[in-house]
Homo-oligomer: 450 residues x 2
């Protein structure tokens, strides 16, 4: 237990809600201000991406406050990728060993559960429809305008956390009031659109339930994740411009032609395809990097507000939850020394935020292009085989990121780059397809490692 | 002459003022809105950097509207660098051939002349103390609050130019209202502080008048540029943190000790050193890159608002003036087809803005460190000798950037990288100091080039 502080959190999304529980459990008094209305009372979308993949870093964050079991009830394990080729054949690629899985959760579902669990804490209050208009580290003040009543309030607290997402108002206030704030936002050439595969007539899953489905098509892809009700949420990641793009696929006829041509096995499962395509928004994909993350030992950015990333490693939420874990460990270690907590939080997490941002960009190429490439699959098979034999010498990059919360993202990125260099040499052997499981290849990897 | 349009310019700085003259000369009706008060009536600093180096790209911009002669009256040519070593010896390095020079001009002086010249145009009106609060491309509207009366106005125009500097309000409005705006601001580890060398008792220059003075000291440097009144403006570029830095050099005693130790020949010329150091602000150095530069064929960013750069190539103003030249040429070519003018302006100038930003960062290392390095000076001598003999095969990078407005910044960057690769090999010869002016070395460069 630390000395009780008044703490304000801007944003009651996934990270803000979880953080409030961590802080309350440490004895602090926490007020959380959310711009949106209470999604538990109003049917509104909690952001755009309807489902997310929870993996070990995220579970660790939930376990830290004892709510992993609660969330597991609304999560569907996915043990591998089911690759859908244009010729309608499919291939299964396990994500890891045995029962290693990532879990499909509804973004709104988990957010609402986290809000419920936060409110069960005696010391947490959630405030909705409060739009942050100003933040100052001078006296720890925050101002909000209520979106309904237009009432303006200004509150003071000992510490402030900005967990208000990629377009954080807290961060924007720090950006304009602090000299030497480094900031970068960049968009990829692709956007995304969510589509729908409903459950079968008896509520059954119409595709394999426990897999993440991918239709890799080189420069673009579609994925689908299972939902609790037997449906799948599909997401098309597609260029904004170019021959096959949101610019050229627009009318119902164009949509039908395109989907029948490139996703033929999915079309029969998507009865509302053309309506969904016309109705659902086309959203963009941004990466945000900034520094510093903490200001005057008074305000800290966390989650997407500090490090918005593209979704291709399924790590956005997981990284934000891990921020909470690291912060909590630092509070445990440094007690009331908030200055040290803040500075260590930033120096530890900033390199990891940068690393997962770069990993997420790189994984898009892997998902949309390489998962359909036999040579790449062979490489992964060689790595898996070697890793199984020498688990202390080689953990595949995907496993480091997804199943190894004890390995920092920045370490995973660095090790992954080393592994890739080694594997490029191995894969360059003209005879690799015949000798891939030979002792010779194994020795070559061992040699390159030492 | 094009069809007359109503054009609004945000910012009456160097670029906004020059642009207004170009547009008026094409027959447009131009209103310029400046946040600051009229600097011609009030003694205020026009930004922080008191003098600037005008070079050929800038002159070309001024010549295009026939005002180069006006400005030449208030400019002092600098034909080379005078390097001041710690042992108080000095060395002269010419900037180019014969009478090639860059020109020291007072920022406020040139800005005020440009405002006068703008107001002499029948179709230009300048409005002061108008702070831009909103910009919209929907109907070409701009809103301003008058800093004195607090009166709010909203005006509409056919086209808008945002020339309101590194922290452009016009750009900020586009950033928040447009999806997929890529933006980056990053600060270097160094800040700067301006200091003063007054004229001698009879108004004479106390150092060589026609040179840019540099005290290169490895990780930091001081420079001095001449002013019309016989004084020099010195600028210390210095790390914010570290052993020798703004963090450690603060008190008058620390300032005296530091300057006597590292700039011993300058100290006797700086009678107000410790006062100036205490009084003058420490300013930071930012690079801004963004995309797009144009929005809905209605609003375009120009000058620092589109591409703020660090000052080490002396190209900030020159690049902004060149923006005006390029825009004017496109208007000449495409007449009333503003859509094509805007899109070509962006596609032509964006790579050049990025290139000069990177060149400016790289030149800091050259100025503060390499100008004091005999090996580097030998390399420059070899390049100069080769360039003199084969002027069509080799223009030194500095000359491409500074004296060659017909060579794009992006071309200069690329050619400069090739040259540097060649010279690294040449300089790696162990006997280079004895054979530097030999036919052998000349042949080696010729061979590498072909």
């Amino acid at each position: 237990m630390n000395t009780q502080k008044q703490i304000s959190i801007v944003g009651a999304g996934l990270v803000g809600s979880l953080l409030s529980i961590y802080l309350a459990k440490r004895g602090h008094k926490v007020n959380v201000y959310e711009r949106r209305a209470d999604m538990r009372k109003n049917k509104i979308a909690a952001g755009r991406s309807i489902n997310l993949a929870l993996s070990d870093r995220g579970w660790r964050g939930l376990e830290g406050v004892g709510i992993a079991d609660e969330i597991k009830k609304i999560a569907i394990p996915m043990y591998g990728r089911r690759i859908h080729h244009v010729d309608q054949s499919t291939v299964y690629q396990p994500y890891g060993k045995n029962d290693q899985a990532i879990y499909s959760v509804s973004r709104a579902g988990i957010n609402m559960r986290l809000m419920d669990l936060a409110e069960q804490q005696e010391n947490v209050s959630l405030h909705f429809s409060e739009r942050c208009t100003a933040a100052s580290t001078k006296n720890g003040s925050l101002s909000f305008i209520n979106e309904h009543s237009q009432a303006e309030i200004t509150i003071q607290s000992d510490f402030i956390f900005g967990s208000d997402g990629a377009f954080s108002a807290a961060r924007m206030n720090m950006m304009t009031s602090n000299d030497r704030f480094n900031y970068q936002q960049y968009y990829i050439e692709h956007g995304y659109k969510e589509l729908h595969i409903p459950p079968g007539p008896n509520g059954e899953f119409l595709m394999e339930k426990n897999a993440l489905h991918i239709w890799p098509r080189g420069s673009y892809m579609m994925i689908a994740l299972p939902n609790m009700d037997g449906s799948f949420t599909c997401t098309l990641f597609f260029p904004f411009e170019g021959p096959d793009s949101f610019a050229t696929v627009q009318t119902p006829e164009q949509v039908s032609e395109f989907f029948n041509r490139v996703f033929p096995d999915a079309v029969p499962l998507m009865p509302t395809l053309t309506e969904d395509f016309a109705t659902n928004p086309t959203a963009s994909l941004v990466t945000v990097k900034c520094a510093p993350w903490t200001f005057d030992d008074k305000l800290a950015l966390i989650g997407d507000a500090a490090h918005a990333i593209v979704p291709f490693y399924g790590q956005g939420m997981n990284c934000g939850f891990e921020d909470c874990v690291v912060l909590n460990e630092l509070m445990e270690t440094y007690g009331d020394d908030w200055k040290t907590v803040f500075s260590n939080y930033e120096s530890l997490r900033k390199p990891d935020g940068d690393a997962i941002a770069d990993l997420a960009i790189a994984n898009f190429v892997e998902m949309r292009d390489k998962t359909g490439d036999p040579k790449f699959l062979l490489q992964k098979k060689i790595e898996a085989r070697f890793s199984e034999k020498y688990p202390d010498k080689w953990i595949p990059l995907y496993s480091m990121v997804t199943y190894s919360p004890h390995i920092r993202y920045s370490t995973a990125l660095r090790e992954g780059q080393k592994q890739e260099q080694i594997m490029q040499k191995i894969m360059a052997r003209p005879d690799i397809e015949s000798v891939w499981d030979s002792e010779e290849v194994e020795k070559a990897i061992l040699g390159a490692l030492s």
